[in-house]
């Protein structure tokens, strides 16, 4: 009744092929943008920024990246943590070598460097797939972490192997460093998230996205209809690594400010992002955000409820939190094996027909 095409007339091709063809969808999208850009910055504080919104947005970028590779192109990767480390160390080297470079350029360049590294580690995907490819990308994960630990050039020969992000400004507002305000950090990341999600959405709707999906659904058939697997797969690795590299760069520069590679970008991070896209929904932009929200926001929420509101001892709360998250993951996957995004699609279908389903 509320949620249908009828009456929503399209008068041009551009209107007909827009991202959100339904009026209600479109208004919802504008409303979210309005809140994110014009309401949140006025109410945000340090806690909400550092503990909730910034990690959520950064992990959303990472899961968008992995979703392009795994969800759209069907290439399983366990190297996400390693590629994030590439982004982080690239941004560190760029920041310290070229102090006058704008932070936005540094972040984007880190993405480009990571894309290059991603293409190199994507080469095995031309011969192997599935579990075998997962193992090859796992090797990338371990190799990259080892490299950043072993070669002192990457951390500018600091005694501890830690990298620390210096202060950088954007339009006169500090976005990295300890005295950056919550608003500046949030808006800086939000702009990137918006741009990258917009790009991902349009890439996956276009020719290149369709070639990825063709490869994912059946690579031999895709080849027969004229999709070049070399180009498609390597493009997927490049774009995916670009996103993940940006996520890694932001993770280091804006969010944490100081990282050590083994702890911040270990194998657990690769799994975390993989879980995000599986729970959120493979091959869905919205799913990337839902997955990131599920795994980043849920623990914070549970912790605040159990410790803050219920007053449980913190160790009990920490253990219970793991149990609850694990249970919720299983529940979600049993009830909706295609991820939470599928639930949303299903709901939309129902809403279109409601209240006369026949």
């Amino acid at each position: 009744m509320f949620y249908r095409e009828s009456g929503d007339f399209k008068k041009s091709y551009a209107e007909d092929s827009q991202t959100f063809p339904l009026k209600l969808d479109r208004y919802g999208y504008y409303a979210i943008l309005f809140v994110a850009f014009l309401v949140v910055p006025f109410v945000i504080n340090d806690y909400w920024a550092s503990a909730v919104l910034i990690p959520f947005l950064i992990w959303s970028i990472a899961s968008l990246g992995l979703n392009i590779l795994t969800g759209y192109c069907g290439q399983v990767s366990l190297g996400t943590g390693g590629f994030m480390a590439v982004g982080a160390y690239a941004s560190y080297k760029l920041m310290t070598s070229f102090p006058e470079l704008n932070i936005m350029i540094i972040v984007l360049l880190s993405g480009v460097i990571t894309a290059g590294v991603g293409v190199i580690f994507g080469l095995p995907s031309l011969r192997i797939k599935g579990f075998y490819l997962a193992v090859a990308t796992l090797a990338a994960q371990f190799f990259l972490i080892w490299l950043f630990n072993k070669v002192p050039w990457f951390y500018n020969y600091s005694a501890s192997g830690q990298i620390t992000s210096p202060k950088r400004e954007m339009f006169g507002f500090e976005v990295t460093g300890p005295s950056a305000t919550a608003e500046a950090k949030y808006l800086f990341i939000l702009v990137l998230v918006f741009g990258l999600a917009w790009m991902a959405r349009n890439l996956t709707r276009g020719r290149i996205g369709r070639s990825w999906m063709a490869i994912r659904d059946m690579d031999i058939a895709a080849e027969i209809i004229g999709v070049n697997p070399l180009k498609a797969k390597l493009a997927a690795f490049a774009v995916s690594s670009f996103y993940i590299g940006i996520a890694g760069a932001l993770f280091f520069t804006v969010y944490l400010g100081a990282v050590e590679v083994g702890e911040a970008f270990g194998i657990l991070k690769s799994f975390l992002v993989l879980f995000m896209i599986i729970i959120g929904g493979l091959g869905s932009i919205l799913g990337s955000f839902i997955g990131a929200a599920f795994l980043v926001l849920m623990p914070v929420l549970l912790k605040n409820v159990m410790v803050g509101t219920l007053g449980w001892p913190i160790d009990l709360a920490a253990q219970t939190e793991l149990v609850i998250i694990g249970f919720l993951i299983m529940l979600t996957l049993i009830l909706e094996p295609h991820g939470v995004a599928q639930l949303w699609r299903f709901l939309k279908q129902k809403l279109r027909l409601w209240p006369f389903p026949h």
Binding site: Y47, A49, S50, Q162, P166, P178, L256, T309, Q319
Partner: protein, 428 residues
């Protein structure tokens, strides 16, 4: 329904009541879960119990109750950030994050927010230079003191010469484990011993290959810079290859009961560094038993009172409490803020009288903090494990370390930090 209402009232009541009460807030970024949880829990218990003791016995510090806000980090820096942001608005006076990685993260943040940080025996060693790091303190001893103390001990055992000896350093492959390397390298050059570096990736359950290498090269000494489960595995592996335990020396974070008990009798003779006493032979512990443990207010089960890590957590709390007292005297107010706390830390003087008044005479070194020296005297002793009695015994005095080697390294590292971050070093 009734219960819900009751709970709502209770929440509302506590929320209404809490801002009225004056409090001294000591956040405790602890970790009771994960691979380092067994160790983290003891330190956190010691910290919380000492603050409880002050509340129960003395009515707080200078008449103001202490409030320990505990926040679980799981030794993860991301959760550490969350905990820091969650607690800093509650009037936090001082942070003691108990993690070198987290310390690195918080050094610039605490300076920007104006909250002091005390990293007793961990963290970034060069914060000892208070001219560059006005908000961070790491008295009474730091990693480089530890490295030097281990070398001094080996020197004493070998009649003052380590020429041609081989030493292997097994370290946690993180900022924490890498800290002692520059000092050990400088000392290796000075005394002519051969240093082998063996990194072990966190959490450190897998170290077969490193021990294979030790077995092959059979170094004269092995040093251990580990934490949590890594220590237990290392000591077990050492006993498996029959490495002589008396030549195996751990830093103070690798010398707790948790680390040696799993290896049983095989761990007998293992040595570790320490900068404070062990056991409960101090009058303060009677009060602790009476006011905290017997009253059922202990943070843990009360069984670990007197263990190495419990004592260290308690010592950290004690230093913070003493600094708070100094700050109260300096400013003539009981309800101090974080900036006053910093001044209190910088003017802290620990003498025999202070320690005796607390009931901890001889527990830790006497020292005086100044702007130039945030690191204390760096006195370190060696303790040895007696597996039959299940007890640590201190086998040397608290001896000075080689500041002539360490001070130039501190100056160089802090100068590099100052240059990187545009800090104008200075004491005023």
């Amino acid at each position: 329904m009734k219960l819900k209402k009751l709970a709502a009232y209770a929440v509302a009541a506590t929320m209404a009541a809490s801002p009225v009460l004056a409090q001294l807030v000591f956040p405790s970024l602890s970790y009771r879960t994960g691979p380092f949880g067994a160790n983290g829990a003891e330190v956190a218990d010691g910290f919380a119990d000492y603050m409880t003791l002050l509340n129960e016995r003395d009515g707080g510090i200078g008449g103001v109750l202490t409030n320990v806000i505990e926040c679980e980090t799981g030794y993860s820096t991301e959760k550490g950030v969350e905990c820091y942001e969650a607690t800093k608005g509650e009037g936090a006076l001082i942070y003691q994050p108990l993690s070198t990685g987290m310390t690195y993260q918080l050094i610039p943040k605490t300076a920007a927010d104006g909250i002091p940080m005390l990293t007793t025996g961990y963290g970034r060693t060069s914060v000892a230079n208070g001219a560059v790091f006005p908000w961070v303190f790491n008295f009474p001893a730091n990693y480089w003191n530890g490295a030097s103390a281990a070398v001094n001990y080996m020197l004493a055992e070998n009649d003052g010469s380590l020429e041609g000896k081989t030493v292997a350093l097994l370290y946690h492959n993180s900022a924490y484990g890498k800290e002692p390397i520059p000092t050990l390298e400088a000392l290796a050059e000075m005394y002519g011993f051969d240093l082998t570096l063996l990194p072990i990736d966190s959490p450190g359950q897998e170290q077969k290959s490193q021990w294979l290498q030790i077995r092959r090269e059979s170094p004269d000494y092995a040093l251990l810079w580990g934490w949590g489960v890594m220590n237990q595995v290392a000591i077990q592996e050492a006993s498996n290859i029959r490495f002589p335990m008396e030549n195996f020396i751990g830093v103070w974070w690798s010398g707790s009961e948790n680390d040696v008990i799993p290896a049983g009798m095989a761990a007998d003779g293992y040595k570790a560094l320490t900068f404070h006493a062990v056991g409960t032979d101090f009058p303060m512990f009677d009060d602790m038993q009476k006011y905290v443990v017997d009253a059922g207010l202990a943070a843990g089960s009360g069984e670990n009172v007197g263990t190495v890590l419990y004592n260290r957590g308690m010592y950290g709390a004690m230093l913070a409490a003493e600094a708070a007292k100094v700050a109260q005297e300096m400013n003539g107010v009981a309800q101090i803020d974080a900036a006053m706390m910093r001044d209190g830390l910088e003017n802290l003087v620990v003498t025999d009288e202070t320690m005796a008044a607390i009931g901890l005479q001889g527990f830790g070194p006497n020292f005086e903090v100044s702007c130039e020296n945030h690191g204390g005297p760096g006195l370190v002793a060696v303790q040895q494990w007696n597996a039959a009695d299940q007890k640590w015994t201190i086998i040397t005095d608290f001896e000075p370390t080689d500041m002539e080697v360490i001070q130039p390294l501190i100056d160089a590292d802090s100068a590099a930090y100052a240059a990187e971050n545009g800090i104008e070093p200075g004491c005023n």
